[in-house]
Amino acid sequence: MAGKSGREIIAEQPFSWKHLLLRWESMLILLLVVVNIMNIAISDKYWSVTGLFRATNSFLNIAFMVLPMCFVLVLGDIDISVGSILAFSATMLGVTYNAGAPMIVAVLVALLTGTVCGCINGVIATQFTELNPMIITFGTQVVYRGLCEIILGDQSTGGLNNVMWFSNLYWGKFGGVVPYMFIVFVLCAIVFGIVQHKTTFGRRMYAIGANREAARYSGINVQGTRFVVYVITGLFAGVAAIFTAASMGSINNAVGKGTEMDAIGICVLGGILTDGGKGNFIGAMISVFLLGLLEYGLGLVNVSSNVMLVIKGALLVISVMIPNLKINVKKKKIA
């Protein structure tokens, strides 16, 4: 059956510089450059290999949670329990180690804890689809954090850095230059990026986020996909917990507080909006470095953490406003 009119439909996307430059990611790169110039002006030690890696190490442990958060938001879901999963996983790690288990066992316990927490979120979110995931993970957030507080009280569980290889996960450097954590992060990011943009799983995530019902009618296993993503999110909160524990050497019940908002904020600034089905992975990755380096630079000039919050928040609000401003300007021009 051939089309009657013989009309041809173009199947290649034409390349356009204008299109490329107007992309949100181009804007983020520009901002990243600005932040770097600012940091160079602040510190003369910043613009060197050691200086830059010192800077990236200050935030990449938390950035492990950004990777799966991209998936969560693309699905149109949200998970605000990751900060608490991090805390609970780190607590289990510390407690297991201090109970006399070998460190490798403690690390596996942390990963298992994260995975189980993710499973719980996933089961609730997929079995009770009428519940808003924001509310579900708000609830589990309180539960996971509460468990930390029950286990630790106001004590902390320390001595973790007595194990050299564990401490090196955060502090160690490959060839004395590149931090191991940086390498692990880059490898993970490549895998996550490929999954999001080059696999059937990724395409299905975008379909679910764009229109969940249409995705279901297209034969996509919507709840299965959501479940897997929640589990991965829990697992990577566990990964973040390991690196965070390695950096601090001891864990108290306040660890990772507010990091869920950092992770979500980074994604949104990167263009992966909470509506679902939007944005791309590269944007989120640029945004990891943009916000991380900004915070690092402001830290160098002793900007207090409260002021930092205001700056981050304002940046986020402005960034989500800009695309809408663009549309308004276009409308005005025509009118």
């Binding site: 059956m1 051939a2 089309g3 009657k4 009119s5 009309r7 041809e8 439909i9 173009i10 199947a11 290649e12 996307q13 080059k198 696999t199 059937t200 799983f201 990724g202 395409r203 299905r204 379909a207 764009a210 229109n211 019902e213 249409a214 995705a215 279901r216 009618y217 297209s218 034969g219 996509i220 296993n221 089905g277 276009k330 409308k331 025509i334």
Partner: protein, 503 residues
């Protein structure tokens, strides 16, 4: 200066980014007439209505109300001037009462307090005028579409509208409900209101209107007296070309039975539904709204669960738990609601077409963009989709072309059975003929097609066999030769007829 026309628009032009939505369009509405406005999707009817109601500001042209020039700054101005619009999709507050919906924006207030009693009484009075079968205290969300429309009409009356615009009011109504709407429209006209009636249905126009204005491609084509223009001429005016054969149903030698369902039941929805469909056959499944046709095919497609009953494909029983199982077994569904269930409007045409079968073009893990693009191009061209590139967003296409994309999408899968739920809903007449043509070709290619439809001409002309449902049961089966509109209606209302007889 008094004028013969209550509303007159001269050379209205409206420009949207990159498109002229209205190009020097003129329109005249006489006092106390029902004036049909017709044209294909994208002809500019909706934009035109929005200019009248002040939602859009015209970029050129003049508008006269009772001979006086007016310039509406917004919808409030037009409301104050006595113009009310009832839109195709009811824009109501589902959790509020009917009375609250009617008086939304102009509540009865005394000393800053809402006068509930007065409002309910007034609302009930308005509803009584419309012969409504529900109370003003009912919650809006619990009403049927037809009833909600009545509320919208009551709302128009409550603001003393003299000019009432109805935008495709019959699109989602059954025959009986449409009949009731006709009566209401006539009553309003007799009471002195002037009505602009937009519809795709020719029967609406013939039944109600005295004059009809046709738009095509954002331009004014002409205004005709309804009793002086033939159907064919009107279609030509709308489409710009002649449609020779509206229903090109090919003669096909039917093959063996492909799908058979036995005693399908779902508690509270339908009971003991059995039918079969053969290779190359188009099986019409019809009935009034509430006959549960869509629910039946949703369970066959695995969207909803079945309580009991069996589904056989090529003689073998299959279990279908979700749409994936259905597609794997060769059953595809073209949904009734293409913009919410069928397609992802935000996505390009290509991605939509290949979504169901991404694994076929790549492998289990990775996608293959190049193969997908080639396949999407071929499938979209096969059904003659009017689009520039496969990257065009589906939301930018007209209803008819969106439907073609939806058809290409189900053709991407290897199917044996195509279920088409209201395949021409909300599509203009030119595109309808094309969809029928495609259906005929698909039957010729050996698909077994189940077509669910409420449109009589479509059911009568496209089906090889017709099954009629009423309130969750199959009440009759007719062959193509013996089927008539009356015959179908008799079965479609079998239950209610029986009930009346018993009383």
């Amino acid at each position: 200066m008094a004028s013969e026309y209550v509303l007159e628009l001269k050379e209205i032009t409206k420009i949207f980014p990159g498109v002229k939505a209205l190009d020097k369009v003129s329109f005249q509405l006489k006092a106390g007439e029902i004036h049909a406005l017709m044209g294909e999707n994208g002809a500019g009817k909706s934009t035109f209505i929005k200019v009248i109601t002040g939602v859009h500001k015209a970029d050129g042209g003049e508008m006269y109300l009772n001979g006086e020039k007016v310039d509406f700054k917004g919808p409030n101005d037009s409301q104050a001037a006595g113009i009310a619009a009832i839109y195709q999709h009811v824009t109501a507050y589902p959790h509020l009462s009917v009375a609250e919906n009617i008086f939304m924006g102009h509540e009865k207030v005394k000393h800053g307090m809402i006068q509930w009693k007065e409002m309910y009484a007034e609302a009930d009075k308005l509803l009584a005028q419309l012969n409504a079968d529900f109370k003003s205290t009912a919650e809006m969300g619990t009403l049927s579409v037809a009833q909600q429309q009545m509320v919208e009409i009551a709302k128009a009356l409550s603001s003393n509208a003299k000019i009432i615009i109805m935008d495709e009011p019959t699109a989602s109504l059954t025959k009986n409900e449409s009949e009731n709407l006709y009566r209401i429209a006539e009553k309003l006209r007799d009471e002195g209101a002037s009505i602009i009636f937009i519809s795709h249905r020719f029967e609406d126009m013939y039944r109600l209107a005295t004059r009809v204005t046709v738009f095509r491609d954002s331009k004014y084509v002409g205004t005709y007296d309804v009793d002086k223009i033939s159907n064919a001429d009107l279609i030509t005016a709308m489409v710009g070309r002649e449609i020779k054969d509206m229903f090109p149903k090919p003669e096909i030698q039917l093959g063996e039975e492909v799908l058979r369902v036995e005693n399908l039941s779902r508690e509270g929805f339908f009971k003991d539904v059995s039918f079969s469909v053969r290779k190359g056959e188009i099986l019409g499944l019809t009935g009034l709204v509430g006959a549960r046709r869509t629910e039946v095919i949703q369970t066959i497609y695995g969207v909803e669960k079945l309580d009991s009953g069996k589904i056989f494909l090529d003689g073998k029983e299959v279990k279908i738990k979700n749409p994936r199982d259905a597609i794997k077994n060769g059953i595809g569904l073209l949904t009734e609601d293409r913009s919410n269930l069928g397609l992802i409007l935000d996505w390009g045409i290509g991605r939509n077409i290949t979504l169901t079968e991404i694994e076929k073009y790549g492998n289990k893990v990775f996608t293959n963009d190049k193969a997908e693009r080639a396949a999407a191009k071929q499938l979209a061209e096969e059904v003659d989709t009017k689009a520039v590139s496969i990257f065009d967003k589906v939301s930018t296409l007209s209803g008819g072309n969106q439907q073609k994309v939806a058809v290409s999408k189900i053709l991407a899968s290897d199917l044996k059975v195509l279920i088409m739920d209201e395949p021409t809903k909300g599509i203009d007449v030119g595109a309808k003929a094309e969809i029928y043509d495609i259906m005929g070709q698909l039957a010729q290619r050996g698909y077994a097609i189940i077509m669910i439809s409420s449109e009589m001409p479509e059911v009568l002309n496209m089906s090889d066999r017709i099954i009629v449902m009423c309130e969750g049961k199959i009440t009759g089966e007719l062959s193509r030769e013996e089927a008539t509109q009356e015959g179908i209606l008799k079965y479609a209302m079998a239950k209610s007829l029986k009930n009346t007889a018993e009383n």
